[in-house]
Symmetry: D2
Subunit: 367 residues, 4 copies
């Protein structure tokens, strides 16, 4: 494989280019017997869909997912689930003059170096459009997780320098708000900031935060496939991510052991409690049963209207102002992509971890 | 596999517990014909070895690596390279009273939840001792990289709040200095800080920075095995890492597109130059030929002498002061481990990426 | 993954059920720059297509393959190649009464045991229809092999007890003849035998032989991924295969060392020759540069019109005569499937083996 | 990896050359909590050990396995189990004159072609000695299987043309008899045949049969990782195997559907029975709950004292009589290696298959 396959047991292959006839995903290894809600898949795709606000690309896509296999009478059968999403509004003409230009901050140059050929239309395979396939597959993973009581929720934590205030956190805003920012005041300021950037033909970065609840303890495969390492890889595989942190993350480097260690204690009712969660729900690469917490740091959208310097395949130095349909900030649409990648990772490692003890195998095979 | 195997083509399996008779690594997939310098392997092991300064655990280990297979007349043969490192100074007695206690910030509780059994002595498999095997394997990977002109170098970027000043950067200090901190002034302040923490029976975190030079363009496997994603996973698999960033990393979230994009231009001599390297040498998950740059954020050592609250397997709440032999800061010894994980990742993806074009296969098979 | 992904570097995922809307394949890891002949893909699909003779199922499928991604301006781009084949003539009604019956010799019972649910229509995922997706992917692999001078050719070696006579071997008959049997006389006798079986509502098994020419020496990954082992797995993954042999195969068990060993000698022109090829082109799991030779033994088609005894999901003993559209012998249509699986394996191991020496990496990365 | 890693969940890496200081295996993914009987490992190693009869190489090895990790207080801990076996009696001098000769029927030439370098001493990595590591790992797999009620048993089915008679089958002879042939009369004739071959400086091939009892239904991962395909690959990875068959195997090609199909029926006590087992316990690539049955066909030992023609690295044609310590027939020592490879495959696919239904995951994670 060349990197378009994700996961070891709950495995997703995505395929498709921005301006091809369609894109898609194939899930191999989804356990049989899950009642699949196709509307839920569509709902997640809608959260990522372009054209819904002035802070997103105006490309018009309905992103109607078609399930072609692996589901019978509404349930997963254990065989591969193929999902196809037609591309309805490619405007390749927009890109013709970019065919021979290496846009700054884009993968044009590196794809050319690697493959010697690239589908330049709309960024080809490197387009964010590929993540629609991830979202569809992630929605299936979420339904598997839901059967086990696990829920994944992400939101915009920051746009540029504007971060949400936990004291004003309102989960209803995640889907209500075009910026997926669960703090009304911060969202308003971020909108203003983005309008200003748009006027300047510039773009913003930001931060997505993701919380997982209901996570059982004991999931993760040390020493190389620690749960945090696999989550980091999954989230880092989303274009534009430049950093990932778990729990205390970056701040951990500046703390003392006595501040950072999460103390354990049994409550009077016998339940185990942690007095803090700097670990972000993972110790030694294995989940500890408390909520997982991670953040992904996104760079600003590289396609900007401002004039930039760059080069062409013909080895000329040129000036370039990228026009076309672009997102002034990618973060709000990336929120559901982060959820998808986290859900895919957890589905995979729940399956892998299920048989870590011989007692588990005995329960399943000697009933 | 359950996570102790790393890599797809240049594959490393590590094994061993902190207080077992030995630990080791097996490399499968090392190309044949590399002249292997065993002294270089030893030199890297020495950089990680405990007992060399008052800022490291006093455990006495010579960490003499033995190569048991895969090398003939000084060259790799293409068959598995097995490396064994005896454990010489386990003091399991120190840990007996910890057998039933879940130390805060450690993996004791999560291993017990996952496996229902654990070798508690010295942290067992979760001990940092396991990373000696990574360092040995990483030293082989570095020799492969050297054949291709690629060099990996890491150092302590920060301890606690004390960071190096690029203006005072002195590479000679990386190995000369017990803190692996290439800025004499910062290192002196960090030493003072660590002495103070030691007096308070506390510990520090910090940051490791890693630079790779000589990297060819075109390496990395989008969309899920992007080079940055795989580096992040590799580095995140080191215990105590809580965040990883590539290039501009965390700062990218706060920048504008016009600031962040690296402009390209051809110099008069025809060479391609980037006017900045916020990308950290990777675009779209593929190396662009400029230096790779990443940082790993480490939490403070969880084993501290200060009294903490925690619980036992017998479901008691207890107070605990961890004595024994521990590092007041893990960062200086982790520097060479970061190098190893980066080198292992690059060796793997250079092999994987070598055949991305049919023209390459023709050159090799139709000479 | 749950087994629908094949290969490590040239990786194929197939999906789809016999009576779903479509089936398909996704190839991840095809090197960039291969000029892809879509008519050649179609030609291979036509060789497997049902409804072409009275010795094949009368199901009407045009098997028109659509390439949805990974190809740009007629060339592979290195990104996933998605191929979709619509199902045009499912007649699920034929199967309704079989929904609760476990047909002898079929996978009905085992799928039910494994998954607790199955798409019973037309055999669902276990149908031979799935192999159309393999053939399409195999045709891409063959084009990669052709670039390196490697050619794969299979044919019917035997039907029932009737085997071809090497002295009458006529390669033109492989495609000309509905039984894919390159010996006119044997083919005539086999046709007669099949007519007789049809009259008796019974079915036949047979043998497919496959020859690979132009194979470079040095391909295969001992000790577990020996080239013969991987070819055996690949061919054994075709439904109805009960045995696979390489070179002398079954006969080897009865030979003496002095008979079996292939002697080597240099001809006067300096070329290396083998005086026999009992090895079938592979020694120690690595190709030796001579032609590969293997045979696959197929069981008779399990769907027969004769009355059989079996059981139902409701735990009744019943009698069953399978009607519907079935092949009296699967071998002629399986010929191109064997070719496909061999081609997919060789493409994979050529990619994997390309970098077995550091000298190869230097040639590619330090030009 | 380059092929020295076997399995996806119960994963074994072997390393080591015939004349290196030691060989070994690392198991990653063994479930925790299995009480490991080290004497049973030794017993299996003893079955493969050379020097025990005149029908085996006289090399003296005690094959004392040392377990270096992954076991605590007699139980598997879920972490990698490293096993080391010292090489005690390498006689490299025997091989010096073979350093530059490519022995017929051996992997000398192909290793040289692949890697450009090889450890020629005793066959290096291609030596049968490597299988001792497989046997040790297989013995651990068998103990996992035993916990689930699954037992694997192989024996010599044929040497040359001499096959056992099922009517005289005596399981006690498998370990009692130096030829591992459970038919006293056949064993006596085979011994005579081997003596005659020895006198003629020649060697014999043969057949190993393997039976697995207690196998649960529902194990195997279609469509590419069918249980029969994975068993075939596993057994074909043993040097000298030229064919593998499951159930009716080679004979299936000559049978009719009405002969071959195994009829199902419920007995009066409600148990499901098959009236025959031509399938060999696998349908559609999934176990059906009846005994697994397979056969491996071994070529004659290629090292013979008879004069043969071959070539040297220096491109000369030479005559060669291979002296040194060799087995006149490899089959009796290969019996336990076949068992090991079958056991490793089943352990792997039992782990993989355990979570094929969401209901299984719910039982484990929501108790």
């Amino acid at each position: 494989m060349s990197g378009s396959i994700f996961g070891r047991r709950f495995t997703v292959t995505t395929w498709g280019e921005s301006h091809g006839p369609s894109i898609g995903a194939v899930i191999d290894g989804c356990p049989a017997g899950i009642k699949l809600d196709t509307e839920m898949i569509q709902r997640d795709l809608d959260r990522r869909r372009p054209g819904r606000s002035r802070y997103a690309s105006p490309r018009r896509e309905t992103d109607q997912a078609q399930i072609l296999s692996g589901v019978f009478q509404g349930h997963s059968t254990g065989t591969p689930i193929a999902i196809l999403i037609p591309n309805q509004d490619p405007k390749s003409g927009d890109y013709d003059r970019l065919a021979a230009v290496f846009r700054p901050g884009h993968a044009d140059y590196t794809y050319q170096q690697k493959y010697g050929i690239r589908d330049h239309r709309g960024g080809g395979r490197a387009s964010g459009r590929e993540t629609a396939a991830r979202v569809a597959a992630g929605a299936v993973a979420k339904q598997l997780l839901a059967e086990l009581g696990v829920a994944v929720s992400a939101y915009t934590y920051a746009i540029g320098e504007i971060t949400i205030d936990p004291a004003r956190f309102d989960p209803a805003l995640i889907e209500a708000n075009p910026l997926a920012m669960p703090d009304e005041e911060a969202a308003a300021r971020a909108a203003e900031y983005l309008d200003q950037l748009a006027a300047e033909k510039d773009s913003a970065g930001g931060i997505v935060e993701c919380i997982v609840t209901g996570m059982p303890a004991g999931v993760g495969e040390p020493v190389f496939e620690k749960l945090d390492a696999m989550l980091a890889k999954a989230v880092f595989s989303i274009g534009a991510v430049k950093a990932v942190e778990i729990g205390s993350g970056v701040q951990a480097a500046h703390m003392r052991g006595s501040e950072h260690n999460d103390w354990l204690s049994f409550a009077e009712d016998g339940s185990l409690a942690k007095q803090s969660n700097h670990a972000g729900g993972i110790l030694g690469g294995i989940s500890d049963g408390s909520p997982l917490k991670l953040r992904a740091y996104f760079k600003p959208t590289p396609s900007i209207g401002k004039v930039q310097q760059t080069v062409t395949e013909a080895k000329e130095n040129v000036e370039l102002a990228v026009t076309g349909r672009h997102d002034p900030v990618i973060v709000p649409r990336a929120v559901v992509v982060v959820e998808a990648m986290v859900a895919l990772t957890l589905a995979d490692y729940l399956l892998i971890g299920a048989t870590s003890r011989i007692a588990n195998l005995k329960r399943l095979f000697k009933p």
